[in-house]
């Protein structure tokens, strides 16, 4: 039987929840028996996606962020959904060092880190409606899967 599993986490867009989000996704991924390096990669990518929702999508508002995680075989998929302001130009937003908020010490490296640490990154956004960031990563290719 193929190894599949799903998990959804919904939380307020408060910065104190960033740690909760990355630890929850990392814990969910442990059933794939990841290396420490892979766990760190997932945590960094999730942290970047959640920070984007809090800083850009909702700015000062507190709204909901949803994280859907799926495991299929050895692949982990993480989808981070917000219903915030959306991104006008996704291609531009994904350029390394590009930021709309340099005055807030944003480095503009968020999407670049997500791309660097995951195998696949896909961004769907509609201005005024929200954004879905979907990331995939093959985990623990050299180890046994816990079922």
């Amino acid at each position: 039987m193929e190894n599949t599993n799903e998990m959804t986490l919904e939380m307020d867009s408060r910065s104190c929840n960033e740690g909760l989000a990355r630890i929850t996704v990392a814990a969910f991924a442990t059933q794939l028996n990841p290396t420490l390096e892979e766990v760190a990669d997932i945590k960094t990518a999730v942290s970047e996606a959640i920070t984007n929702c809090i800083v850009h999508a909702y700015e000062k508002e507190t709204e909901k962020i949803r994280i859907d995680c799926t495991i299929c075989g050895r692949e982990l998929t993480v989808a981070v959904t917000d219903h915030g302001r959306g991104i006008e130009n996704v291609e531009k937003a994904m350029e390394p060092m590009f930021t709309t908020k340099p005055e807030q010490d944003r480095s503009g490296m968020g999407f670049a880190f997500m791309e660097a640490f995951m195998d696949m990154l896909e961004v769907e956004s509609e201005p005024g409606k929200g954004t879905v960031v979907r990331m995939k990563k093959k985990i623990g290719t050299g180890s046994q899967v816990f079922e």
Binding site: S15, C16, G19, E48, Q104, M109
Partner: protein, 99 residues
């Protein structure tokens, strides 16, 4: 010297920024050393925070450095290119005030 918390994300980066900038506003700070010995996690918010402090100090000829950086944090710093601006070393190197 600033002791960085275990996890340096957007949440903690903004708290450090507030506190450090309050000290910087008083003047007399020429060198900032961030000690990462207790830090296991950092994301791009940490990079933004370090670059922001570098910009503030750089205008007045000051320096920013990071010490006791673990492999993971070091990788993030290398990937972002921040090491070109911020000195990364094992121990703090205190630069004498130029008169």
């Amino acid at each position: 010297m600033v002791y960085v918390p275990q996890e340096l994300d957007h949440h903690f980066a903004s708290q450090i920024t507030d506190e450090v900038d309050r000290e910087l506003k008083k003047g007399n700070v020429r060198q900032l050393v961030f000690d990462f010995s207790g830090t296991t996690f950092m994301d791009s918010s940490g990079i933004g925070m370090l670059m922001g402090r570098y910009r503030l100090l750089h205008y007045s000829g000051g320096r920013v450095s990071a010490i006791h950086v673990n492999d993971r944090v070091n990788r993030i710093m290398r990937l972002s290119g921040i090491y070109k601006y911020i000195e990364i070393s094992q121990e703090a190197v205190w630069h004498q005030k130029r008169r």
